[in-house]
Structure formats: C-alpha cells, structure tokens
Symmetry: C2
Subunit: 685 residues, 2 copies
C-alpha cells in the first residue's frame, strides 16, 4: 500500500503513450488502456513476478489481455519494464511488419503470452494457462519444492463477458476450483454500441458466483489504488476458487469523451490529446514521453523479477539434486523435444490386421504412447466414449477434493463446451509444458472455429481429435455429418488436417502432430471400421500423400482420403474386371503436409499424362488443386445406416468407376495433360 506521485505519473504515462500511439497510427483503441492503466500498474508492480530479460521463464506470472483491442496498454507496460518492445515499436503501432500489431500476437512480440482480440478468447486462454499451471505443479512439485506456483491474471471487458466461449470457460474453471486464476472485469459500461444497457443488463458477478467463483467489486477503478490492491490480495488468498474482481472504471479516463463510446475505438482528436496531457501534467507539445522516474520504478521491479528468477533457478538446481528425473523431464518438456525413442511406441499394422475404425486406432495410439509422452494431456467435450480419447488407466484432472481425480491427472472432462475447450487448449499449449489433445465430433469443431483459427495463428501445438468425420457416422444424420468442414480447415493457414485411411496413417498423423512444434492438427476420424491398406506405412503417411496402388498402365489416378481410399481400391478392381481399365490410387491423409514435399515427389504421386479424380464424401471445394475432376458431396447428407447412406450418394465401387470412365473420356484429347501439381507460379507464404 501507500501510493504516491510516481504511481500517478506511471499510470498517466501509460495513458499518454496509448493516446500518442493511437493518434499517430490514426487507428486503435485508447479507451481501455486509459481506463485500465491504474489496475495494470498495481497488478504488474505489486503482484506480478516476471523477468523481462527472459520472457520464457517457466514460473513467471502470466498476464492475458482478453480485451485485446486495448493492446497499447500491454505494449506500453512491456516497454516500461524493459521487454523487447522498443519506443520505436510503440511509434510503429499498427504498421506493417512492426511487433505492435492491432491486437496482441503471441508469436511475434516478447512478453505477449497468447494471441487475443477476438473477444472471449483470452479469457479461455487464461483458464487454460491456469489449468496448465495447476497440472504442472501437480506433476513436478514435491515436498519443500513448490517449483510451480505462478498465478494467471486476466483482464476482460464487457465484450468478453457476453461471449459464449468465456461463459463455457468460466463454468469449467469454477468446477475445477482454479485458485491461481484471477480475472479482472473492466466494468466500464461501454461497448461499441454505446451503453451496455442496450443489450447487457445481467448481473455478471452473480453469474460468476453461480459458476463457483469468488467475486468482489471495486467501485472506483479509476483512482482507488488501495482498494484495487486489497481486492487482488484477497483474491490471491482464496485458494480453492478462481476469482473475479468487477472493477468499475471510466473508459478513456482523462479524455473529453471519457465514459462514452466515442473513446472506445477511435483515437482522440488533436485538441483532446493536448487537453489530456495538460490534465496529467505532461507537455502537450511532446509525444511518447516517459519520465525517467517511471522507467526507474519499472526497471526496479523488473530487476526484482530477474532476481526472483535467479532464486528459482537455484531452487530448480537443488530440486535437480533431489529429484533428478523430474528435473530432467521438466527441462526436456521446456525444450519442446519429445523423449528419445517415443515414436517406437506408435502402433504398426500389417495389411492382414483386422478392419478398425480410425477413432479406435487413435485410441490405440494414445494407449501406446501416453507413457512415453507424458506431456500429452487428453480430454473430450463430453464425448469420451465416442471420441475414444481416454487411455485405460487415465486419471482425471480434477480438484482432489472432488474425489474424482487429482491435479496430476492427464484427462480433462471439458463438458459440452467445444469453443471453451479449444480456447483452453490454446492457453494450455502456451504454458509450455503440455501438449493438449481434445475430442469432439468433427462437425462440432466448427463450434470452436474462433479458437481453432487462433491455434493456427499463434502456432500452438494443439491436437483436435475429431471423430464421426463424415456421412459415415450414419444415423445421427445431416445435423451431425460434416460437409464443409474439411474445406474450412484446409483453407486455414498453418493447420494440418489429417484424415487417415487406416492404422499406419493414424500413427503417422500423430507422429506429425506431435513433432510439429508450431502447428496444430485436426484428426478427422471415422466411426466405421476401415481395412488396413497394403502400401500404408508410417513413412508414407508422414509425406501427407502417397501412392496406395501403383499401375504403370493406369489411365486414371484416384486420389482419396480416409474411409474412401479402400472403396477406391475396390473401384480399381471393378474397373479392371468390368471395363478393362487400369487405375491407380493415391491416399492423401493430409494435403498440407503433402504440399510441403518436393515437386518431384508430388509429381510421382499425381503424375502428368493421365487425369486425376478425387473421391471424398464431402464438399469438393479445394480438391481441384490436386485433381482434374472431383467426386464429392456438395449437399447435406442423410440419416440412416452408413452403408445405405454411402449407397444413396453412390460412394461405391460402381459409383466411383462410372465417374472415372467419364473422366478418362473427357480428358483423352487434351495435350499435354498436366498434373495439377504443375502451377504457373507459386503462392506467397
């Protein structure tokens, strides 16, 4: 306690930096930084421990700005503490190739933990960070060695409060009793449509109480630093519940338009900029000013953080002596490298092995590797028995008091909360010690699209186990049968969409998912059984696409994925027997990985000279990239036993053959007939 001039100066420095940066960019959101500067100042200086010189220190406190549009608050703070965010970077706020983009991006800016801006995401990420902390503590902490005990702090606004993803994550966080999670709700009554009374009149703290959170209200978030500090301290003292502090603030504090929507998403006008600076005792003619005493105060706290890390390193060293295995395991995890030889555990299949659904094959992978890959933390959005995401002896991640599991448990029951699950997994991945895998039906990965996109954008190694991948799920019908889903996620940059055709391809999918440190994966898996293919090997699968059946006399290449590959192989026999036509088959479990192969290899798979036809029981959109003609399903599916549904839509050897014949005939006069692999130019990536 005891706040004085320097505190006020620091707060106003943050405010004026936000004013200057948004004014200079002629774009951005000054309101939230001006309103939340006081709580940010108190939180970072009185509570948070971190070392700006090593933003990756494991036991640092985590901070998430879920209302990411207010990122000048965060950039200003990172700058003041001496993170790698220079004054020049602040001056290039929202400019091409700066590290200060319009919303915070974890991958590019030191000190930014997670990528936020899309509302509600940061809140879910914070829950994920807190889960990861609790789990990592559960695994590695030992008596007298509280190695992992950081807190996760999150700021969120009215927008985040309204988003369903935040509701989902908050409900789960309450259930999980995450005592180290402290969220501060910026209750400024303003969203883009103006006063929140036009659409948001619920009692937010009561809702959080219903979720099982500890709640408080600080009425004057603009200047009552003591109450802010007391509330955060009280929240820290509550160990068995996550905490929310409703902090009533004035958006754009200091502006002539403070407290109105006018200051939310637009820079202040020139005269208002001057007025603000004068009000705060700053020179109205100068921009981007940081008084030396503010730097001094912030750098002092930064060096305390550096010292804390040093202490922690000593603790870790001591821990290494007494708990050698734990220490080396922790260090290995932080390096993001998997344990030596883990891949030898991946199941391998022979063509004579029985037909099995890829969802079951995925389960076999988890069963086989979970001991070798202890950072893998599986879970499901309430579809455990359908997604096959749980290995037999798995322990649930649950508060020990529930008697249902413990903190070191590696299976998370997300509830029917797909979007929350995905946002939480992004946060868990960002913590650095966990590879999260979460299951739902492929069709409902779409519920989580907002977070899936951020898995990709922020380079998180997250695995989506997406079963019931097509009309092959049968009776549940069109409401559950994906059509557009693979096209959607294949169009997403930095996302591996896997649709394995058998056991070895499923193992390959996991191999690539686990070893691609900066790319998330979606595993599209069948409900129905699939035979083991002749040519399928881990090595072939790892290329994303390969020749499943070669024939030098082939008049056509059939390229297919998942459950349709074996039907294509039957179609080859049908064509040979009934039409005397030779055909070859390509299995393409992951187009993104195939794209990364050499052109020579790709041309050996999809060669010049004969036409290629794709076969997949979903939208054909995008298959033109790999084929001349496409057989797919550009309509919704049907409810019925899956074999009847496949028959209805002609995904049978006969149906494929009929179209193959039409394709061969159609292209016979084209010279040269080039493989679609040949392109006039390459895309910018």
């Amino acid at each position: 306690m005891g706040y004085g001039k320097v505190d006020e100066l620091a707060i106003n420095t943050i405010r004026t930096l936000a004013v200057d940066a948004t004014f200079q960019a002629n774009s951005g959101h000054p309101g939230a930084p001006m309103g939340m500067a006081p709580v940010a100042h108190v939180l970072f200086n009185k509570f948070m421990t971190f070392n700006p010189k090593n933003p990756d220190w494991l036991n640092r406190d985590r901070f998430v700005l879920s209302n990411g549009h207010g990122c000048m608050l965060q950039y200003a703070i990172l700058h003041l503490f001496g993170y790698g965010v220079s004054m020049d970077a602040l001056k290039h706020f929202r400019q091409v190739d700066s590290i200060t983009p319009g919303h915070p991006e974890a991958h590019d800016t030191p000190g930014i933990e997670v990528t936020t801006g899309p509302l509600g995401q940061g809140f879910a990420n914070a829950v994920g960070l807190a889960i990861a902390q609790q789990h990592t503590a559960g695994v590695f902490n030992k008596p007298n060695f509280e190695l992992i005990n950081n807190h996760t702090y999150c700021f969120f606004g009215d927008g985040c409060s309204m988003e369903g993803i935040a509701s989902e994550a908050a409900s789960l966080a309450g259930h999980l009793q995450l005592g180290n999670l402290i969220c501060i709700y910026d209750d400024n009554h303003i969203s883009i449509d103006g006063d929140t009374k036009v659409s948001f009149t619920e009692d937010v703290t009561k809702r959080f109480e219903a979720y099982g959170w500890h709640t408080q209200h600080v009425e004057d978030g603009d200047s009552d630093l003591e109450s802010i500090e007391a509330a955060i301290q009280k929240a820290k003292d509550v160990k068995d519940k996550p905490s929310v502090i409703k902090l009533t603030t004035t958006i754009g504090f200091g502006s002539k338009l403070q407290g109105t929507g006018g200051v939310h998403g637009n820079p202040l006008k020139a005269d208002d900029v001057k007025q603000v600076k004068e009000k705060f005792g700053f020179d109205p003619e100068k921009t981007f000013v940081v008084p030396q005493e503010v730097y001094d105060a912030y750098h002092k706290h930064a060096s305390e953080g550096a010292a804390a890390e040093e202490e922690w390193n000593k603790l870790l060293e001591k821990y290494s002596g007494e708990h050698k295995d734990g220490a080396s395991e922790l260090k290995r995890r932080l390096s993001r490298k998997l344990p030596e030889g883990w891949q030898n555990k991946l199941p391998v299949y022979k063509p004579s092995d029985p037909a099995v659904a890829t969802r079951k094959l995925s389960e076999s992978v988890l069963e086989a590797i979970h001991e070798a890959v202890p950072e893998l933390l599986s879970g499901s959005a309430d579809l455990t028995g359908s997604n096959n995401t749980r290995w037999k002896n798995a322990v649930d991640f649950q508060p020990p008091s529930t008697g249902l599991g413990d903190w070191s448990g590696r299976y998370l029951r997300y509830g029917v909360r797909e979007h929350g699950m995905a946002g939480i997994m992004n946060g868990m991945s960002a913590y650095g010690t966990i590879i999260p895998a979460g299951g739902t039906f492929l069709n409902f990965v779409s519920y989580a699209a907002g977070s899936v996109r951020l898995s990709s954008l922020s380079h998180q190694r997250v695995i989506y186990i997406a079963t019931h991948d097509s009309i092959g799920l049968g009776e549940d019908g069109p409401t559950h049968q994906p059509i557009e889903t693979l096209a959607h996620f294949r169009a997403l940059p930095n996302m591996m969409v896997w649709r394995p055709a058998d056991g070895n391809e499923t193992s390959a999918a996991y191999y690539m998912a686990l070893t691609s440190h900066e790319t998330p994966s979606i595993m599209a898996l069948t409900r129905q059984n699939l035979p083991q293919l002749e040519a399928s090997t881990l090595a072939n699968g790892n290329k994303g696409g390969y020749v499943a059946l070669e024939d030098k006399e082939a008049k056509i290449t059939l390229v297919s994925t998942g459950s349709e590959v074996s039907i294509c192989l039957e179609a080859v026999k049908y064509l040979k027997d009934n039409k005397s036509i030779a055909a070859r088959v390509v299995s393409m479990p992951c187009t993104e990985v195939f794209d990364a192969q050499s052109k020579d290899y790709k041309l050996s798979v999809i060669p010049d000279g004969i036409p290629t036809m794709s076969v997949e029981v979903m939208s054909t959109l995008g298959w033109e990239k790999y084929s001349h003609e496409q057989f797919g399903l550009n309509r919704f599916g049907a409810s019925g036993p899956y074999k009847d549904v496949y028959k209805k839509f002609e995904f049978t050897p006969e149906g494929i053959s009929k179209r193959a014949v039409l394709t061969i005939d159609f292209y016979k006069d084209v010279k040269p007939l080039r493989s679609p692999i040949n392109r006039a130019f390459t895309q910018l990536i």
Copy 2:
C-alpha cells in the same frame, strides 16, 4: 389438474414408442424421451394450442426440443396428435429417406419448428421464436385484437446448458424480458461422459436468475404431474421475464439402466425392452403399440386446437374489417412474397458515382428498402457503427419499460454474441413473419458457424451482414482478417456467399438474398472505398458472375470478387501499357448463384481457349473450380494501413500483371485449353 390412468398410459406409450423405435433402428437415444415424457404430456395437453392439420397456423404455440437427440419424444407426440408423422414413419426412425431422421429437421417433418441436435441451437432458436412473436404482436396487435399471443416452449438438457450459444441467448432473452418464453431444463444429471458432476457443477438456476429470468425447480419430474403443471402455469403468469423450470428427472425412466449414462445414447437391450413394457403394463411381445384411449385423448386435444384456429381465423377476419392494411400485410408476409415493386427502391449507381465502401452501400440499401420491406429486422452483434446495419430512423426492439425502444422496433442489439445472434435469427426466420439480418465482422461469422450451418440446412432466409471482409480492414490485423472464411462458407450447401464489388452488385446481393425464400446469405463487405464499375448492373449481379470488362483479343481472363475487381481492371491497363497484352475481367460476386446459370452463359463468362486466373485476397481454396491459376493469400494477413497491406502481398496492378503473364505463358502449349466450366460429370445435388 387431476391426472389419471389415461395420462399415465399416454406417458408410458410415448416411452415405449421411443424404446421400440430406437431398438428397431439399433440406434438413437431412448433416455431423454423416457425421462421427459411426463412433462411433454402435461405441456402439450394442458398448455399448448396447435392444429396438427395445419402445422403452419401462425398463432400456434411453438415447441423446440433443444436436446434434439431425444427426437423420438417429439416424433411420438406428433404421431399421437395426428400430425403427418405416421406409424410407418416411426418404424423407419433413422432410416434413409424417412421423415424421422436422427435429429429433428424442420424442413422435412410436419410439426418440427426448427432443426435441432447440435446442442444449444434449439435454445437460441426458441429465444428467436419468442422475439419474433413479441415483435409480430407489437406490429399487428391492436386494441381488442390480441392476434398474436402464442407462447414458445423449449426443452433443453445439460448439454445445451453448457454450450456458450445458450448462455448468449439466455442473457439476451433476460435483457429483453421475453415473458412468453418458457424453457424446461431437464436436470437429469447425465451427459455422455456420465454423471454431470465430472464437469458441470455450477448452479444453473442461479445463473439464469443472474440473466434476469424467473426460475423454479420441480423436484420430481418423473411422476409429479401436478407440480409440473403448476410450475408451467406460474411461468405463464410471469409476464415480464422469461422463465426456466429446472425439472429433475430420471433419464431412461423405467429401464434397468435408468439414471445412468447407459440409457442416454444406446437402445435398450432386448430383455430390458421387455422388462420396461411389463413394468408399464404393455404386452412385452408387441411393438409400436398405441392404446386407442391414448389416441382418443390426444386427438381430442388436437381437435380443440383445430377449433382454436377456427376461432382465430374468425378473429383475423374481424381484424381484416377494422385493420385492413394490417391484415393484408400479415397475409402477405405469411406468403413469403415481398411487397409489389419493392425492388424499385434498390439503389442504382452510375460509373461516375463516387467510390464508397460496400458496408456503406449495404447501409444505403437498408435505408432505401426498409420501408418497402417491413418484415426486414436488422441488428448487429455490438458493431452497429461498423457494420452499418441501422437505418437512420430505426427504432430498437426493446422492452418498452426500458425507454430504449418498443416491441415493434426493427433493430435488435444482440450484444457481442455472434453465435447467439445467428441461432436467434434462425428462430426468428422460422416464425414466419420476419426476415432477420444481423451484422458482425466477417471473421466473427466463424464464431457462429454452428448456427450458420443450420441456416443452410433448415432453409432459413437469414442475412449475415459481414463487414471488414479481408486484409482490407487494415490495422486491426491478422486476428481480424479473414483468410479461410469464404472458402468455409462457399463449401456450405445452400448458402449464398456474396462479395460485391460496388453499389449495383450490393443491390443485387440484397435482391437475391431477399427473394431466395429458402436460402441464407452472407454479405462480405469492405471497410475500404470501392469505385463504381462500368459493367455492373443489377441484372449482371443477379447472375452471380458476369463480364466486367470484355476484350475479344484477350489472352487471359481475370476472375475476381469485391475489392479486387477494380484492381484487376487497373491490371488490365497495366498489361496493355507495359506488356501489350490484352486481358478481360470477370466479376464473380456469388459463386453459388453463378453455378446455377446455364452452361452457355457460364462459358460466355469464363470461355474456352484462354487461361483464367482468379484474384482474391484470401485462401485460394476452391478457386480452381473457376480458374486455371489462383492468386490469393494462403497465409495470415498483417496489421497496417490497408494500402500498405495490399502492397506487401502484391495485390496491386503490377503484382496481378506479373502473375497473369506467367499464367499465359504456362498454358500456351495446352490444346484444347478448356474453360474450368467444362466438367466430365455433374455432381449429385
């Protein structure tokens, strides 16, 4: 009150029908129908007014089964009341081409109001139906003519409770004080992962209280019919709040596995089927049995409903005498035909008109037509000023007590609740008297993907006004810049994705959206200004794609959309001036509508003989269908002024020209060079 043998018999008839149908299908969910049969019996017979012979009667009470997996409950009830769901249909539950699919589909089954199953959707639909009722009453009711006063009832389970979309919709419903909405929460403590205590321990009724709902708890939902009735009556009596009744039930009531997850998603075993029937006094050897007294009782209530409709028709007739305009307007709306001549209000532009952002042009359309098309109800997910969704003199749809608007208001403030908005719009559209249009950024339509899919599947005329459609939004950066989004929604069957290039194309998009009765639309609109094109007309736009610049000497066709069309036109000049190459340009505002044109027309737009290159600042996925080569953005965007961002990614006349030259060169040896419009076979639709 006063329940007897026939009631018990009816309830057990519903239960055994669900048991038989799921057993025969060897698939489906008997648990929820068995648990909720009592409340369904009470609700439908004591409270709901409807006429099975005319499922479209406007003032019928609406029923939504948000836990749609329990659809045998609904199918059994529809059958018993004499809707067009025969016993044969029940026997073909979950079979191909039956009207009893695995989850309820509004478009195909008489008496099903909305398509449910994806959890949480039905709940949001119910909020939409209640809003539509309240609005329609606000517009058409007159003193002594309470023409529209139906209730909306919704069943929902634990799964729906956990979904964010339901939270969003519930929060808004509380704000809107929707007194005619009554939701019954099936508190059976079971979801697919077993006991809900593993992930769902919040206080649901307290949460609804926080939203502003009236809440009750009926402790014995299995047999206490009197309490169920009393609670529903009390809920009806509360006029200024939506109501939720937490109804504790036993899932799979009667089964040996009752109260466990074993009865949720799997048919009962043969011996359990027998045991259940014996317990309920049914012949264990017989299947699909309906005692005549049950038919009699249900048909009696059905005929009361028919009589109620007759009364209502008389009221409407009397209303027609005193409020002629209102009556004919209401009848017109129900016919789904727009008012005569409305299209003459659509703005028309000349090439010399100034450059304007398509989001502003969209606003001009709304401004121009809102009086002519009174069923249009606009809104935004808290981005009113950015989406430009509000006409100048719009009145908010708000409870009159708030002083912020009234029930007849045609502008809905959805709050930052994209998924909820979309689910609500589906329900509003299903009511029959409204065409809902709702705004958000294109990137955040993805948050609503679950509902957008159901707009398409259930044939709802819903309009998504999706502004900030690309990297052209500039400074907000990659978290807000769509890349995969158009590919996603173009892959969705029965969805028109519009990306207009100027004013006339924007008018065309609205023309098609409003006149396509069974197809939703997404309007992808720019933040930045675009010039008015020479060849752009309403008629051209209505074809989905047309020649924007013809040149008989052209060596290449550039096909483009939205903001890139005018850059392509500049590229043509650049090619002519710098390379002496002639080129032509196609504007393709909506591929789905273009697909529906004649082959001759399509070949006139994208002809044989010269290569076509697509130009769009997003994923190229899918453009191979219309072009030989694709220039797009298969990576995330960048934060900066939009002109800088376009330049960074080479979407400039020079950048386009460079790739056009490479394309021409690449295809010069191919004979014949066919238009991609030519295909070997047509897809099944």
